[in-house]
């Protein structure tokens, strides 16, 4: 697990062999961690299974950025 200095982004790594055990708890553990923050500081939790697929990563971040856009501009 790695986190940036502001605690805004965290990255966790799981191997294929550990997916069956890790996947169900991976998101839920981060859900409980984030739920300790004020609601306004909470955001999305993303799991990428394709760290080396540029197109999959781009699709995921496109969705993420579009989500931010909607949050910032609710009345547009």
């Amino acid at each position: 697990m790695a986190a940036d200095v502001n605690g805004k982004f965290m990255i966790g790594l799981v191997s294929n062999a550990g997916m069956g055990k890790e996947l169900p708890a991976l998101t839920s553990r981060n859900e409980t961690a984030m739920s300790n923050l004020p609601l306004g500081k909470q955001n999305e939790i993303l799991v990428s299974e394709h760290p080396y697929s540029a197109s999959d990563m781009k699709d995921m971040f496109d969705d993420f950025i579009t989500g931010i856009w909607v949050i910032l501009c609710p009345f547009r």
Binding site: L23, A25, R29, T66
Partner: protein
């Protein structure tokens, strides 16, 4: 339309289901799919975790899971069938409660296609004969892991390009304390098979109730009554886009996203 590799279900509003009954349903799910349970796990809070509410999965045999459920030690759980090379599993059924960062729902995934779809429909019919399920769906997805995330609205997974990837997450209980309007007044999206109630069928679609809207034109699927209050609404794959578009524009889909003018980065 791509080649789908997994059939999945999600059933919401199951607050009245005990862990013991959930395990009975889990076993029946595998029976409907003619598959065996090869592994099980339950969630457990950690005393020495990283944060308040930290937890982990405890892997057990199905017999031990049953014992822990009967003793009140285990609540939320997952049972699965692990085929060689399947990541994370080839078949899975999960019971999630309002603990462990979740909210009450069942999720099920299965690698496969038509035969598995029939098995899942059969399972849902049996569940609905036992308990009232206010809302749910069967959906098709290329990957089991993606389908797993979609059930809880996690990981910004979408089933189609005209779907808002984070809207459902804001609607469910849990972190965002959502209003759960999908239980009565709205639909998440429209799927190949939709579990809906009489209340959903009374939703106003441009001056017509949903039940009449479905019946007044071809290409809007067909309804099958399961109980006096629960229905299955089947929509063919080639009708899904038009049905979603119509109902999305009518404002009754939680996750509908207009495509016009939306810039892709």
């Amino acid at each position: 339309m791509g080649h789908f590799m997994s059939i999945s279900l999600a059933l919401y509003g199951i607050e009245g289901v005990t862990p013991r009954l959930a395990l009975k349903f889990a076993k029946h799910y595998f029976a409907c799919l003619h598959l065996s349970i090869t592994g099980a796990a339950y969630l457990k809070y950690l005393n020495d975790g990283d944060h308040v509410g930290d937890h982990d999965l405890v892997m057990v045999e199905i017999a031990e899971l049953e014992e822990k459920i009967n003793n009140g030690i285990a609540t939320a759980f997952r049972v699965y069938n692990e085929a060689a090379g399947a990541i994370p599993w080839s078949v899975s059924f999960g019971y999630t409660t309002n603990d462990f960062g979740g909210f009450y729902h069942f999720d099920g995934q299965c690698s496969g296609d038509l035969i598995e779809l029939k098995g899942m429909i059969s399972f849902i019919k049996d569940v609905c004969a036992d308990i009232a399920v206010p809302y749910g769906m069967i959906y098709k997805c290329e990957k089991v892991s993606k389908a797993f995330s979609y059930a809880a609205g996690n990981n910004m997974v979408t089933m189609c390009s005209y779907e808002n990837s984070s809207a459902f997450k804001k609607e469910v209980p849990g972190r965002f304390q959502g209003r759960e309007r999908y239980k009565e007044h709205l639909l998440r999206m429209v799927y190949p098979v939709n579990v809906i109630s009489n209340k959903h069928l009374e939703i106003d679609v441009g001056g017509v109730v949903l039940k009449d809207w479905i019946g007044e034109s071809v290409g809007r699927g067909k309804l099958e009554a399961l109980t006096s209050s629960t229905w299955l609404w089947y929509v063919e794959a080639d009708q899904l886009e038009d049905v979603n578009k119509s109902l999305g524009e009518a404002g009754i889909l939680i996750s509908w996203k207009k495509m016009e003018g939306r810039k892709r980065f």
